[in-house]
């Protein structure tokens, strides 16, 4: 409690030195343990006293929990504590029943994740069949995908991108860590070529944009 008064009042903090990094680490630890949702560095910094640096504290904390029963995980630009995955056998009671996704939904999700931002027409071109209403609806409801920016192409179609919830669910630090992403890119399979043949979608002309837009998303 004695510490408390010291860091409590952020308006007067500039008068004090920032607490030592070990203390900052404890604070981040307490906050991450208390919340179930991932927290951004920004949100963490807002919670801890002025002059503290959540990013630095997180580096220490992550190291401390490496190999423990719970780990500090990065989720997009946010952080969370999760149980180590080799402990799952202890958690039968905590198992969350997830809705079984259809093959179409799984493929659509993967296409959005690897090609984001991607339009419905582009998804259809890759799968060679039309995307059913329910599929996109379901993925939005699960909060695994959301609407992205509109494409700057005729018709200004909306795009889809994956969400932080998606990253959190699959334990990904960022969309760049998607399995096989590098290989796919090296093989040119994420570039879109103008489609020819019967599977060409009417909106085929939109595609020059993709690689450009995409780089933004996957770059730091």
């Amino acid at each position: 409690m004695s510490d408390r008064e010291q860091w409590d009042n952020s308006s007067e903090d500039s008068l004090f030195e920032a607490p030592p990094i070990s203390e900052q680490e404890r604070m981040i630890e307490a906050i991450l343990f208390a919340t179930a949702e991932p927290m951004t560095v920004r949100a963490l910094n807002e919670r801890i006293p002025h002059g503290c640096d959540a990013s630095e504290a997180l580096v220490h904390l992550r190291k401390r929990y490496a190999g423990r029963g719970v780990n500090v995980m990065k989720v997009g630009d946010a952080w969370a504590i999760r149980t180590a995955s080799d402990m799952s056998f202890l958690m039968q009671k905590e198992l969350v029943e997830t809705r079984k996704l259809s093959r179409a939904a799984i493929e659509t999700l993967a296409i959005i994740a690897y090609h984001q931002p991607v339009t419905r027409a582009e998804i259809e071109e890759i799968r060679g069949v039309s995307v059913s209403r329910g599929t996109v609806d379901q993925l939005i409801e699960m909060e695994w995908i959301r609407f992205g920016r509109r494409k700057l192409t005729p018709g200004r179609p909306v795009t889809f991108v994956v969400t932080q919830n998606f990253l959190d669910h699959f334990g990904l630090e960022s969309a760049r860590d998607l399995p096989g992403l590098k290989e796919l890119r090296a093989a040119g399979l994420l570039e879109s070529q103008p489609a020819i043949g019967p599977l060409t979608s009417e909106t085929g002309e939109v595609e020059e944009m993709i690689s450009e837009d995409q780089s933004e998303l996957f770059e730091d």
């Binding site: 799984i106 493929e107 669910h169």
Partner: protein, 262 residues
């Protein structure tokens, strides 16, 4: 592929009948022509980029022919693909025509091979993705998120889905009509009545009906006309129920009104 071809020319024996049965199941089980092509391509057992599109086209066409022969209902897109592959086959077999516009047969074939490889790749990574450790199955969130006393505040929230559903609810509630303030210049009799009822109490003497026009309805001719007629109708109504008296000294002379003396 050769098997398929040859069997077509013979009458169907029992084994082929069975094979035909499985074909029916297969056509139902495929998610469109591209999916079917991908399955057929597996028989070639090579890298998808090195696949023989010509062979694949033959296989597909044979498959479609056989399906037709068995009178299996084929969706239009299977037939569109068949037509396109027949065209592609002829392009690949004939020497290139230098006067021909557009992509060559090889380019079209390479493009198709690319599409197949890309679809296969997406399926592979989709499987890899689903095989990852998943939240709530392989790793778990904090079971007792801390509930804290002190500052209690209420925030209201909504999701994008709520917003969009709310919007579509309004937009589809009744026939959609682009928004327009089309009653800008209509002064209704009800409005006039309400206004005048409030004013006639002080009309102990004869006053010009025109003086009852609301301030902002006097200058614009259209608005003035609308308000005048509404006021006139309202004054008739008030006279009828006996609240006021009306008089006019001659045609086109001002109409005057006065509270009914009681």
């Amino acid at each position: 592929m050769t098997e398929l071809n040859s069997s077509m020319n013979e009458t169907l024996d029992v084994g082929e009948r069975l094979a035909a049965e499985s074909l029916i199941v297969d056509v139902d089980g495929f998610e469109g022509p591209l999916d079917l092509l991908l399955s057929l391509s597996r028989t070639q057992k090579v890298d998808l980029l090195k696949i023989s599109v010509l062979d694949l086209a033959r296989q597909y066409l044979a498959f479609i022919d056989r399906a037709k022969e068995l009178r299996i209902e084929l969706a239009a897109d299977y037939l569109v693909m068949a037509a396109w592959l027949a065209f592609l086959k002829s392009r690949l077999l004939l020497p290139p025509d230098p006067t021909e516009e557009g992509p060559s047969g090889e380019e079209l074939a390479a493009r198709l091979a690319f599409q197949l490889e890309r679809l296969q790749a997406m399926r592979n990574v989709a499987a890899q993705l689903m095989a990852r450790d998943q939240k709530g199955r392989d790793f778990f969130i904090r079971g007792i998120p801390e509930k804290l006393e002190m500052v209690r505040s209420v925030t209201y929230t909504a999701s994008l889905l709520d917003l969009m559903q709310g919007y579509s609810r309004i937009r589809t509630k009744d026939e959609f009509r682009p928004f327009a303030m089309d009653r800008n210049n209509v002064f209704t009799m009800e409005e006039a009545l309400t206004k005048m009822r409030g004013l006639i109490g002080s009309a102990c003497d004869w006053t010009d009906l025109a003086s009852y026009l609301p301030e902002d309805w006097r200058t614009d001719p259209v608005r003035r006309r609308a308000a005048t007629s509404a006021n006139f109708a309202a004054s008739l109504e008030l006279a009828k129920v006996g609240q006021i008296e009306l008089r006019q000294s001659g045609t086109f002379k001002p109409i005057e009104l006065k509270r009914r003396g009681d």
